[in-house]
């Protein structure tokens, strides 16, 4: 009998499923789920890929899994320190295959807002800000984001501010997985305990759902890898993520 998804495992594992063999794959600051996804992919998949991160790590073998996704332990075991200028330049010159980037709001074109809710100049909520997005989203070969909340507040018809454009390749929430198709986000799959109708109801932008289906369940190795990364469930508790 296949394992069931938790909202947390759904989020992390489906981020990991965007990772491809041999590619240069990056996780950055303030990015716990993709950090875990990269580490999960290293443990669960048969292929290798070049994992680089914001702590300067290149193929690191961290002895502990840090709560901060920019923790220097993420360079432990690395044979090089690839500093911030280096990985940004790699991205802008076209050498970054897959880049995980945060977002507060995402629109149907795969653009993101991480700047402000409300008017930028008199914000209701001041968000973290530009970060990697405006430069990396348009220059990475593929960029993928996640949201712990799937709602019309986060997946919106119209962004309050366009921090980064260029078209996300993928979006993962506890409810669904989207990918870019012909310049717009299309539904690839949804949480098997939900439905296409629920995804449509909770998504602020219209999307194509051709070929979409329930997300395949977690594989045994994926589940085992995630358990090994979060043996006492601290990451899952702190992520505080739910399907509904």
């Amino acid at each position: 009998m296949p394992e069931r998804w938790s909202a947390f495992s759904y989020l992390v594992t489906n981020l990991a499923r965007f990772i491809r063999p041999d590619e240069v794959t990056f996780s950055g600051v303030n990015s716990t789920p993709p950090m875990l996804a990269c580490l999960l992919a290293k443990r669960a998949y048969d292929f290798d890929f070049v994992y680089i991160n914001v702590a300067g790590g290149v193929q690191p073998t961290p002895s502990v899994i840090p709560r901060s996704s920019s923790d220097p332990v993420l360079a432990e075991g690395s044979t090089a320190i690839f500093s911030n200028e280096d990985f940004y330049d790699l991205c802008t010159r076209g050498g970054m295959d897959l880049c995980f980037l945060g977002a507060a709001q995402v629109d149907g074109l795969g653009r993101t807002n991480v700047s402000a809710i409300g008017d930028w100049h008199a914000p209701k909520v001041r968000l973290p800000g530009g970060g990697g997005g405006a430069v990396m989203l348009p220059t990475a070969r593929r960029a993928v984001t996640w949201r712990t909340e799937h709602s019309r507040r986060t997946l919106v018809e119209k962004l309050d501010f366009v921090t980064a454009a260029g078209g996300l390749h993928g979006v993962v929430t506890p409810l669904a997985v989207f990918e870019l198709r012909d310049g717009s986000l299309a539904l690839r799959s949804w949480h098997p305990e939900a439905s296409l109708v629920e995804v449509q109801r909770r998504t602020g932008f219209a999307f194509d759902a051709t070929g979409a289906a329930p997300t395949p369940p977690p594989g045994a190795r994926e589940s085992a890898a995630l358990r090994s990364l979060d043996p006492d469930g601290q990451f899952e508790r702190e992520a505080n993520v739910a399907l509904r």
Binding site: R126, G130, A164
Partner: protein, 275 residues
């Protein structure tokens, strides 16, 4: 040109005293990692005001400075406590109430401005940015490729902080400084700023720098002054010496106003400074 005294080592209070009100100060490190937090706290103790803070990814530093009312302006890429700690609440409130001015960057656009300053040119092209609202917000210019590719590239004006303060693992009395693990953005900060201050975990012998000069991030002649504060990046980490002190960060975040107890509990108050 920096005169060459026998030793550039000064007490922490003396280093902070070199930062005038209204200075543009670039801070090294990233989020809770290897930030010059002891110096930040000392600026608060000395009631510094109207500072401009330049940093790609500030968090604790900008938050506590906002609580102290020390900040007039921030030029930053991403601001947060990070991960499960969330946003930097005092900073967020200061922006929302329009008590401080924010120049919002992507981390790399800020770096491009620093590169322009470090390279001695008025502006620096940067990849990406296309389609973002940030250029209009900041009135950045785009320049068509004069070599006829048809490409338009965004260019960022030079950003030249008055002072860069870098927290390092080891320095010597001449100012040479090295770090272990990632240097974050510290290399470009140290080249872009007019003056460079170093806060070091410890002094190391000059001979140890001679043994492996390739590890020196900032050569001493570029450094104006050094102070030694063991554990000075608390409550953040300094690899490989210590990890983030999450309970201390959480206690800080649960407090309100100027965090007197937190300031009093800091390592620079607890331990004698080895200067």
């Amino acid at each position: 040109m920096i005169p060459m005294p026998f030793s550039k080592v000064v007490p922490l209070a003396g280093l902070a005293a070199l930062v005038p009100d209204g200075a543009s100060v670039a801070l090294g490190g990233s989020f809770l990692h290897r930030g010059p937090f002891a110096l930040v706290r000392e600026l608060i103790r000395q009631h510094r005001t109207y500072l401009e803070i330049v940093k790609q990814s500030p968090g604790y530093d900008i938050d506590i400075l906002c609580r102290a009312g020390a900040v007039a302006r921030v030029r930053a890429g991403i601001v947060a406590m990070e991960g499960h700690l969330g946003l930097a609440p005092a900073y967020r409130r200061a922006v929302e109430r329009q008590e401080i001015e924010l120049e919002e960057h992507a981390c790399m656009t800020l770096t491009a401005g620093l590169r322009a300053a470090a390279y001695g040119v008025p502006f620096q092209p940067v990849g990406g940015v296309h389609g973002s609202d940030l250029p209009a917000l900041n009135q950045w210019a785009s320049v068509p490729d004069p070599y006829g590719s048809g490409e338009n590239v965004w260019v960022i004006p030079a950003i030249r902080p008055d002072i860069a303060v870098i927290h390092v693992n080891e320095a010597n009395e001449r100012g040479d400084a090295r770090v272990y693990g990632t240097s974050h953005w510290d290399r470009i900060l140290s080249r872009a700023a007019k003056r460079v201050f170093v806060v070091a975990e410890k002094l190391a012998p000059v001979a140890s720098f001679r043994e492996r000069p390739e590890l020196t991030l900032i050569p001493g002649f570029m450094v104006e002054a050094v102070t030694v504060v063991p554990h000075g990046a608390w409550p953040g980490s300094c690899w490989p010496l210590y990890e983030v002190d999450y309970p201390a960060v959480e206690t800080y975040m649960q407090s309100e106003g100027l965090p007197e107890a937190h300031l009093a509990a800091a390592p620079e108050c607890r331990e004698p400074v080895h200067a």
